[in-house]
Symmetry: D2
């Protein structure tokens, strides 16, 4: 009773090159997002909790979690779609389960369903061994024009 | 790195009595929802696709899926909360992945996170071995008054 | 600062014919859904609360609300899309705000954003003058094949 | 047929002091979030699009929108809840409608439903006169301990 989609376009070379990549600019750079692992239809990210990311109550700002989620939703699609196709996150839903105060946040994204035009992705976000957020969202796949 | 909550209040007797239960009245009766399996923090439901549940395009009405989801969100909580507590679904999100035309629909609900006041539940819905819907929602747990 | 999309394909004849339509079969028939009003990019539905739609706690089954929402999401699109195009609800999110015990439930659906391929719709659901549910969802527009 | 909740705890003094406030630290500081207007049960925020907030495709990173949304969900509650109560965003859903390339992003947050324990909030996000994102979410209100 498997429901896992297959990913014929998965590019292990892309994956090997991407692993360990850490953004240094833009929002992902500010957050300190590192792509820590990648496989066909799944990708793992981590970021270190640091003072600049907290809210005034000493808790990781929820927007850090949601921005990490947004980033992961699109990124997990790239190794399994044709080159030149654009993965545009169109909607997602986030449940924040527990406050994060220190340590590392890890997001495990998985493509649960994929057609030519759309991927549906779930993300589990943990702080140590505690589940702190759950995400479910849709990415529209736009082939290159012309 | 387990994130599965424990369920000290789980009542195997309740579970044994509930298994195989089929609603005959109300909306679950109209849909023909049967509780086909139950465990600590998880519950499985099934319903047979029949002509009365189709839309004019010959596809199972999406409302059947969403009503089944709503039903499952609350029901999965009862075997693991104190007697007299009310499990009120407060919100959920549903992705419909593929049309259903015949056979059986099976919903597997799992409590992913639970506190004294709230449970967060995910549901995978299948038609045969195809995943046809994904649900993520919140149930508020209301202790008995007085 | 208007954000309301325009609907050049709106068909007032369709609208006039549809108004007052009440499904007698299928899930909408069981629920007793009536289309009470229609305009460009908006549609209103109502259903009467009756014993068969309640849950064992004497409250309208949440699945009635969600099925009504699913129905409205697709239906509101038909008067404003080309004939033969299929409006397939692909995802939505529902907040249940208050229990419903009697009277009428009215759902006001509005297309908030529309492209050639996709409509995003919000629905406000009331019981008398109380807001009882809020919906936000996406409908994929599929042109006829061939 | 009004559904707008009343806000007896609304503090116009708080509102007057907050208006025009611009975070300079943390994630809101990095984003450049300014609270541009406030009223009972509603709050408006703006941020300037700048190169550091773009993704590699020259489009505002979706995480900027979602982080702004997360920020607004909690913030809109503070002027209408008792002092010392904590407004913790527990879940939300976001539809991204159109890419943002330049100018200003404005988020208008409105509390649509509020009880002692929970607020449900909708946010419309615009770029100029174009609607670019829609949000619907839940904030849990936690009274001070002891």
């Amino acid at each position: 009773m498997s429901a896992v989609p297959e990913f014929p376009a998965y590019d292990p070379g892309f994956a090997a090159a991407a692993k360990g990549h850490r953004d240094t600019t833009g929002l992902p750079g500010f957050l300190g997002v590192e792509m820590s692992d990648v496989g066909p239809g799944r990708m793992r990210f981590s970021l270190e909790v640091r003072p600049e990311l907290m809210n005034p109550f000493g808790v990781l700002h929820g927007g850090v979690i949601s921005a990490l989620a947004d980033h992961a939703l699109g990124a997990v699609c790239y190794p399994v779609i044709p080159q030149g196709t654009w993965a545009a996150t169109t909607e997602y839903k986030l449940n924040l389960l527990a406050p994060v105060r220190e340590g590392t946040v890890e997001a495990e994204a998985e493509i649960v369903s994929m057609t030519m035009r759309m991927a549906v992705v779930r993300i589990d976000i943990r702080n140590g061994d505690r589940l702190v957020a759950l995400v479910q969202g849709t990415v529209v796949l736009k082939p290159p024009k012309g």
